[in-house]
């Protein structure tokens, strides 16, 4: 078995058995249901839910992604530094297994395990909605939205959550991460310079706009493209399918760069 495969399997199994990986998203969903106005309730209200099943499940993807990614990032923030704290890292470094392969296995294994509750919640609610409205096609849209919008965003969050605590304490990373998540995803570009609605948008503005024709639950929001009077419009070209693809590739490239940075920092420390 390769070092990559072994560490992926081990990290996945270790992480998926952690109680907190399940408790945090569960509590988030409870809070989410308790407050009004979320799609978790509205999707099952014939008077409130969108008529188009695609809008329904894509809107659900946006809301769950925006919220559950925060717990996802915070839970992953101690994964890499933990090996040093527990004294496991020097033992693993003494093995012939390549550090890069181990890091990649840890990244994908821990991220996949932490994403399991998110996937279960999303597909669970989407399936219930598809049954409720009698439109199985909603599940196909849900699968597409998960692959194109949620997965790239989570891969980006996981890469930074592993790498950044190498250069700052994990609690500080959590504070800065949630601040960034709000600023870079939700803050309106008219209010202050922000990366929201640019090509680098972890919530997936360009794919949402072009590939899913999604313009908010009520069809009145803009998720990509230039915003009148906003700064950084140079990063907001008019949406096209090629730019949607580029936006996804950009998230993956930055994820890889963050992970490579983490790898270099670790390699320097053990030298």
């Amino acid at each position: 078995m390769t070092a990559f495969g072994a560490s992926l399997r081990y990290e996945f199994r270790m992480q998926v058995r952690k109680r907190s990986v399940w408790i945090v998203p569960a509590l988030t969903l409870v809070l989410f249901v308790l407050i009004g106005g979320s799609l978790l309730r509205d999707l099952f209200d014939p008077g409130e839910r969108p008529l188009d099943p695609r809008t329904g499940v894509v809107g659900l993807a946006v809301q769950l992604h925006a919220l559950l990614a925060i717990g996802f990032g915070c839970l992953l923030a101690d994964r890499l530094v933990r090996d040093d704290r527990l004294g496991v890292a020097p033992i693993l470094d003494a093995t012939p297994a390549s550090p890069a392969a181990r890091l990649l296995g840890k990244y994908l294994g821990a991220a996949a395990a932490t994403a399991v509750p998110i996937a279960l919640a999303y597909f669970g609610f989407a399936a219930a909605y598809a049954i409720d409205i009698g439109q199985p096609v909603a599940m196909a849209w849900a699968l597409a939205a998960f692959a194109v919008v949620i997965v790239p965003g989570l891969l980006l969050v996981a890469a930074f959550a592993l790498a950044v605590p190498m250069i700052m304490p994990a609690p500080l990373f959590r504070v800065l991460f949630v601040g960034y998540w709000l600023w870079g995803n939700i803050v309106s570009p008219e209010m202050m310079p922000t990366l929201a609605r640019t090509l680098f948008h972890p919530l997936g503005g360009y794919p949402l706009d072009v590939l899913f024709d999604f313009h908010g639950i009520d069809g009145e929001d803009t998720w990509a493209g230039p915003v009148a009077g906003a700064t950084l419009n140079v990063l907001r070209p008019d949406p096209t399918p090629a730019l949607a693809l580029l936006s996804i590739v950009l998230l993956l490239i930055v994820s890889a760069a963050a992970l490579a940075g983490g790898h270099v920092l670790r390699a320097r420390r053990i030298r």
């Binding site: 979320s38 994990a170 009077g229």
Partner: protein, 231 residues
Amino acid sequence: MRPITLWRYEARRTGWAAVLGPPLAVALGIAAALAYPEPSDTTTARILLGGLEMAVPLAAAVVCSTLIGQDPAREVQLTVPTPYRITLLRRMIVVLSWTAAVAVLAAAVLIVTGWWARWPQNHGAFAGQLTWLAPMLGLSGLGFAAGAVLRSPAAAGAIVTTVWAIQQFFADAVQEHLPGRLLYLFATTRGAATDDWLANRLVLVGAGAVLVALALILLGRPERLISEEDE
């Protein structure tokens, strides 16, 4: 051991995140206010006060959520005459005192420069300090209690940041009902009903105190502290 030595030790145990978090939060709030492309006095003042109400309490609360579970040898802590929960409470007091010092200094600068008064719902220079104090105590109490229940800094930090983010993302929906308005963290700068402000602030302070008390009760059971934790 002299008290000052003891407090200095506890301050060191709280870590760099406790030291850097609050000033960084204030700096980010100021940066956000300066970045506004079409500045109007009211909006800039709102963002400046928003930094105090939103960023500063978050920095304190996330650190408080990591206090439990950081000592590598808790068994040793449990053998000393001072109960471990008192040690943890002492560290929490250190974190909150430092955060309060930074926040008071920032608020004083805003008051002297006139920015404080430019936000209409500032509630004065004295009672207005509840702008940062109430959410700091409420959210930090939540973080400390979550740490005591879960004994996992990652999970407790995740709960604090998620509650903070939900109140940001769904500000209107959260404040549709009275319980939501009373527990809303950002009532000064994003509040729906001005009349509820003082009640909201006092409820947040009370909620923080109740949560800390609950955490101390839980921490009084040493077997919880030395059993397997969610590492």
